[in-house]
Every structure is written in structure tokens, then in C-alpha cells.
Amino acid sequence: MKRTIGLLYRWRVISAATVSLGLLIGMWTQNATANPMRPETGLPYSADAQALLPPQSTNSPGQLQGAVGPLRLGILGDLFATYRLSSRQDQLFHDFELSRVQLSGWVSYESLAGVNITVDTVRSSSNRSYIGIDGDAILPRLKWAFAETTPWKHYLSLRAGIVPDLLLQYAEASWGFRAQGPTGLERDGLFSPGDLGATIEAALPYQIGSIAVQVGNGEGLAMREQNNGKNVTAALRMAVLRSAAPDLLLHFLFRDGSIGAGSAADRRASGGITYASAKLGVGSIATMALGYRGIGDRWAAHLSTWFRGELPVHFALLGRIDALWPDVADQSAVQLRLIGGVAYSLPALVRLIVSYEGTLPFGNLTTQVPALTEHALLIQAEVRL
């Protein structure tokens, strides 16, 4: 009897799911607009917001695009060449580094579905490894590779594959100086740029934002899945000024996750605000980590605050403060990272950036090794397609 009831229940669930899927496909209209060129979100701007956005200049990145029949294709790319002089661990060291080459190719089909494949570069040995490929050669790797569909106008987006993180890309877009280095959220081990999994995102009514849920392996880009647990992340984004400023967003995120073969807790709760426009970017994101660097019962906290602003004559200023409390039980133990610099944009393609970056320990962190204190001067050229 129990078995029959169970089978009936399953049948009802399957039927409901099939009908729902049918309805979704039914709602698939020519107004849907897949947006695979934007890693932050699969959701395009609403029609109202789109109308208010400033037109893109021909110098903006992402202009290499065209159409082949029903397909739209595009390429986005950037290259960061860095000279770095740093004082750390008793060493004054300077080197040239190709800190990133990233190339995204995207295709969308009649604005219904799209694909994004993004390749960036990494050093082939890990940070604990002496042997990489051909010594320690710079190699390309898949950063994102996802299929995307927007089955219902600008209200719903589905992504699957190596999908971008739900928060990190907003922080990067607002910070605008990825060339200087990864955001504090990434550098301090709180979020990874991508993960194998799937994302569903739905726009909230009245253009007040969206809600997204992501399910992924939780091991980021560098590792295969190590355990049976899957990371589940929910993010709420609220556009407080609605379509008048669609890129002024409040973010709330919670991730329930685990990491490694031991399934150590790896949870995050974040909240913050970001604003991104061509001339100005400002934001602040606070994060609590419940499980940090493989220590499942560790509570860590992080606050990253940044600004960038365009000045006259193609100059720009940038500044960022990342504060990390690796153990909130010891509030005096803080790692502070200070970044400040100036950028100059050449007429096309290239931006030059000079910045200082200092990492300073306080409290118990001063007695821990390897020593945290570092002072670095970076001179960089950023090339963007």
C-alpha cells in the first residue's frame, strides 16, 4: 500500500514538473534576451532600464561582435602586464608578470539561448607545488563555460556548466580594476570566480532586483569534486532605485557549502552595496565565513570597501581597503590590505595603472608565520578588447 502511494506521489510530482516545463517553454518568446556576454548575471536589463542606460562608446570593451544568420557572436578579452616590486619575508623582489590573459567568446541564438566560453591563464604549478607543466609555465584554463537560456523575457535565466559566482562578478564590475589584482573576496579565500554547477535567476517585479539560486560542486575552478555535498547559494539583489539606476544594487547572499574530502563546512553570509558605471564605481561588501580555509568551525569575517572615479584628462583614481578577521573570536587579530593608485587611459585599448598595495597584520597575526607584512608597488598595463 505504502509503495502504491509512493508511486502515485512520484507520478504527480513528475506530471507537475512536466506541465511546468511545458508552460515555461510556452512562455518562450522572441522578447527573451540571452545575455551570455555578462558574467555577473544571465538576466538582461529590463526594457525600461535599457532605455535609460548611456550608449556605449566605440572605445568600450565588448565591441567586437557581429551576426551570422540568427546567431550573434562576440569576443571580450583583456591582458594585464605587470611589473611588481615587493618587500616581503625579508626579500626585496621585483619581477615582470603576465598576470592575466582572459578571452571570452560568446554566442547567442535569437536572444533565446547563449553560450559563453571564457579562458584565462594561470601558472601551472599550484602555490605548494614545485613542478608544473614545462617547469612553471603560464597555461590557459577554462574559467567559465556555460550554456544559458532566458526562457521568459527578462524575468528568468538558467545557466549550467562552469558558472560564474553570484557575487564576485558584481564586485569586480564595480571595482573596475581587476588588473590590479583579484578582489579581496577572492584573494582572501571567500569566493571562487566560478564553479561547476547551475544557476537559476529570476527578476523581481517592478525592476526592484532579482533572486538567484546556484547549486555547484563547491570546489571552485582548481579541483574536481571531493565530496558528495553540493554548495547551495541563494542571492538576493535589490535595485533600490529600480530602473533609474539598475547598477546600484544591494546584495544579500548565503551559501551553504562544504569543501574537501572531509566535507568541512564552508558557508558564507554576505551583504553589501555596489554601484558600477563607466565613470564611477563604489561598493562595500561584508562577509561572515562559517568555516574558513578548511577549518569547519571557524568563524571569520571580511569587509571590502572600494571606490574608483574618473578624473579629467583620462585619469582615474582607485582605492580599496580589505579587512580580514580570520578568527572572529580574536577580534584584535586583523589583516588589513590597503590599495591606492592612479590610472591613465590611452585613447584606445590600453590603460596604465600605478598602485601601491600594503598588507599589514595586527594583534595575534603579527606573531604568525609566514609573516603577513608586505609592501608592493605595481606598474601595470591593461589591454581590453
Binding site: Y130, A261, G262, A265, Q368, V369
Partner: protein, 473 residues
């Protein structure tokens, strides 16, 4: 089960997400420390789990057998516990000029033993697999812990263990302070005749010398069959797999370009036989080890028996347990090269390990050195028996601590700045007494943690299986 920790549960209703969360999979059966141990070990062995799972399983089995093998297999966890972002127990003395000292890497008692130079047997570290540059404080703490653990297995009381650790710290600090004003720093060579060596070391040196004189490596690992000397074949020594066997000539030729005593004559490197050595070591148990019997003496004397037949070991070198990525410049060269240059920087005698070299072949990095049965280590099981039977008394343990402290300090003084290390040691009180007191306290806590960890590890192994639940595909 998710939200395993009650204090995390409040977040589910806050986010209205009860129904979504149930798949994250934080293992409620595993406490967070076990999860960290498992992750740290499996992470380091990930490639070996896929390629040599039975050897990794054997390594974990050996580690579970007791505190000493567990200590040997968990240097990685030790350094992780003592790295930045950990708890207050991770506080380590460090400072300007003392951040980049050449470290031996893992000075547990079974990595200390007898080696040989042109003057005969001497005491030194005999395994440099983990050598790297880093803060001296790591090594002092690790060495002191290893000493305490080894002696505790002989039933030594806690108060005596603390006294021995204090003696080790005092010896280290005293030697560093003595070298503070000396340029270049003195080289410590402890030989059988050294008055300060102590009974434990003297016995060890005598044992090593005798075995070396008898060339035990030939009697133990080879046999003469039909007038031809060949390496034995048994559970420990098995035929070499292809393509290694076919490539051996080329590997040998490449090794000779880096050989410490020079390339040598071709006639001294004629391969007679070769095997793969299994079941050696603890941390490095799954690593490849090839033993090669060659014809010809590398030394000018021709009085050796068996007309100069000798054994070479090609030992796979993997990444060190120290978190090098945080130490500055990152990888430099191969692991074989790291071990080679680190060994030469730290050796107590410029003429020991004449056959040391390295080679990278087929993507695998090897250290190459001579196989010597005389290269005895301080066998902890034997030492424990002798302590328990009162063959070694308190004074002998104290002498051992003094000798080890000076040995480690001597290496650090040569490869770092003794004045900078001395400044760090005496920074808080001007004498170094605070350093010694803190060391004693910290190491006692380290040992308690190690004992708890061993119990957790044994339990994890029983519950999660021989590979600790690591995926093997």
C-alpha cells in the same frame, strides 16, 4: 544533513531557505578537526590516490600504528596548524633577517643519524626531503615536538620531557648566541670521539660505523648467484617497471651532471642490476624508489670488496610540507633540485654525501644518493626500549637534547643570519629564557593535539576506509 552546527542554524530561517539547504553535505559524523586532517592529507596525496592507491592506503595504515609514525606522516598538518590564520597556538618567533633560513624541514629523530665523510662517521640530519627556506621558529618547534614525542614513548615523565625540551631550546639559543659574533659560523661535527656527544649518539655512531665497515648494504640487499652479484627480489625489492628500467641509463647519465663529487668516470657507473624498493619511510612511503647496483668505486681507493660494487637510490621527491606559496617567491627549480641544494647548504661536512645528485625524468623529480646501511637513524622504537630498560638515563636524554639543539642551530646559523635569529630569540627578555619557557609550554600542547589527532585519524580510517574517503578516479 546540513547546518550540522546549531549556531549556524539560525541563518536558515533568516534567509527563508530551509527547503533549499539539505545537500551541502557537511558531514555530521565528522568533527571539524577530523575534516581538516582528512582534507590536508588527501589534498597532498590526491595524485597518488589515483595512481598508487594501495601504497597510499599502506601509508595511512602505517601512520595509524602509533604516535611516531603519525608524527612522521603529518608534517604538512603541523605546518598548516602553525601557519597564519590559525589560533594563538600558531604564534611563532620571527623577525627581520630570520624569515628565510634554510630549514631541514622535518627533524624528527628518525631523520637524524649517521653519515660519512672523508674522516669517517659523523652525526647529521640524514633526510632532507622537506628542506625549504622559511622562518627558523617552525623548525625549532617541530624538532622539539619530535624529540618530546619520541622520548614520551619510552615512558619518560612529563616533567622530564619538559626539562628535555627546555634543554633543547637552551642549547639552540646558546649556540646561536655564540655564533652571533662569529663569521663564518662554526660547523658542528659530532663524531664518536666527541666528548659532548652523549651515550645515545655515541652508540648510534658506533653502530653506523660498524655496519658501514661491513658494507651491510651488500650483505643485506644483494646475493651472489652463479658468480654474479645481484640485488635480492622479495616483498621489499621488486623488478623495476617499464619504462623506468629502459630509461635507467639515461637517468644515470643525467644524474651524474649534478653529482656532488663530480661526474666521475664512466667505468664507475656501469649498471649491474636495478629494483624498485617498496615499504620504506612513512610520509614518503608511496614515492618511487629505485635501487641501482653499479660497478666501480666513486672514490679513488680500490681496496673495497666486491671490486667497487655499490648501490644508488633514486628517490622521488615531492612538494615539501611547508606552505612555500606563502613564503615569497614560490617554486624555484624542481623538488630534486630543492632537496639537493638544501642538503648541500645544511650538511655538517662538505665531503659527506659525495654521491648526492638529482634528476628529473618522465615528469618525476628524483634525489639520487648512495644506499648505505651504515646511515643509521635514531630508531625511536629501539630508543624507547633502551630508555624503558634504564640503559639510557636522564643525563643521556639531556645530552641528546643538547646535541640536537646544537645540530639544528648550526644548520640555521650557517644558512641564515645568526645575529638576526639571536635578536629574535632575546627580543622579549634579553636572555632567551622566555623563548625556552614558551617553547616548553607550546610543545606540550602540540603533543596533546598530536595525540588527539592520532585518535581522530584512526577513527576516520576505520569509518571512511583505507583512503580516508578520497575519490580515486
Amino acid at each position: 544533513m546540513t547546518f550540522a552546527h546549531l549556531r549556524h542554524r539560525f541563518l536558515a530561517p533568516v534567509f527563508g531557505l530551509h527547503l533549499l539547504f539539505g545537500v551541502a553535505g557537511c558531514d555530521p559524523a565528522m568533527d571539524t578537526r577530523t575534516a581538516l586532517i582528512t582534507q590536508t592529507l588527501v589534498d597532498a596525496d590526491r595524485d597518488l590516490v589515483a595512481t598508487r592507491p594501495t601504497l597510499v592506503a599502506e601509508k595511512y595504515q602505517v601512520m595509524a600504528q602509533g604516535l611516531q609514525p603519525y608524527l612522521r606522516g603529518t608534517a604538512l598538518l603541523f605546518y598548516r596548524d602553525l601557519s597564519r590564520y590559525q589560533d594563538s597556538q600558531a604564534s611563532i618567533l620571527h623577525g627581520t633577517g630570520a624569515e628565510q633560513v634554510q630549514l631541514y624541514g622535518d627533524v624528527h629523530l628518525e631523520n637524524v643519524g649517521v653519515t660519512f665523510d672523508v674522516s669517517g662517521a659523523l652525526l647529521d640530519v640524514i633526510d632532507f626531503d622537506a628542506t625549504a627556506r622559511g622562518p627558523f621558529g617552525w623548525e625549532v618547534r617541530r624538532s622539539a615536538l619530535a624529540l618530546r614525542v619520541a622520548l614520551s614513548l619510552g615512558g619518560v615523565t612529563d616533567s622530564l620531557l619538559d626539562a628535555v625540551v627546555a634543554q633543547f631550546g637552551q642549547s639552540y639559543a646558546t649556540f646561536i648566541n655564540e655564533q652571533n659574533q662569529r663569521q663564518p659560523p662554526a660547523v658542528i661535527t659530532v663524531r664518536e670521539q666527541s666528548e659532548t656527544a652523549g651515550k645515545i649518539i655515541t652508540d648510534l655512531l658506533a653502530d653506523g660505523r660498524k655496519r658501514n665497515e661491513q658494507r651491510e648494504e651488500l650483505s643485506q640487499y644483494t646475493q651472489v648467484k652463479d658468480g654474479v652479484r645481484l640485488l635480492l627480489r622479495n616483498d621489499d625489492l621488486v623488478d623495476m617497471d617499464e619504462p623506468w628500467r629502459s630509461d635507467l641509463e639515461q637517468m644515470l647519465a643525467q644524474y651524474r651532471t649534478s653529482r656532488h663529487a663530480g661526474r666521475g668516470e664512466d667505468s664507475n657507473f656501469r649498471i649491474l642490476d636495478a629494483v624498485r624498493k617498496l615499504h620504506s619511510g612513512v610520509a614518503s612511503l608511496p614515492n618511487l624508489r629505485f635501487w641501482v647496483m653499479v660497478q666501480g668505486s666513486p672514490f679513488p681507493d680500490t681496496t673495497e670488496p666486491d671490486a667497487g660494487v655499490w648501490l644508488l637510490e633514486f628517490k622521488e621527491e615531492r612538494d615539501p610540507p611547508i606552505p612555500i606559496g606563502w613564503l615569497g617567491r614560490g617554486p624555484i627549480g624542481s623538488n630534486g633540485e630543492r632537496v639537493y641544494s638544501g642538503t648541500l647548504a645544511l650538511l655538517g661536512s662538505a665531503t659527506s654525501e659525495a654521491d648526492l645528485g638529482y634528476v628529473t625524468w618522465g615528469g618525476v623529480s628524483f634525489q639520487v644518493r648512495r644506499v648505505l646501511r651504515g646511515r643509521r637513524d635514531l630508531d625511536v622504537a629501539k630508543l624507547s626500549e633502551r630508555i624503558a630498560s634504564a640503559r639510557y638515563g636522564n643525563a643521556d636524554l639531556s645530552n641528546l637534547a643538547t646535541t640536537l639543539g646544537r645540530l639544528v642551530a648550526s644548520g640555521h646559523a650557517r644558512s641564515g643570519q645568526a645575529s638576526a635569529i639571536a635578536a629574535v630569540l632575546t627580543a622579549s627578555d634579553g636572555t632567551g629564557d622566555a623563548f625556552v619557557a614558551n617553547l616548553v609550554q607550546a610543545v606540550a600542547i602540540d603533543q596533546q593535539r598530536l595525540e588527539r589527532d592520532l585518535a581522530l585519524f584512526q577513527s576516520a580510517l576505520a569509518i571512511r576506509g583505507p583512503l580516508l574517503g578520497a575519490r580515486s578516479n
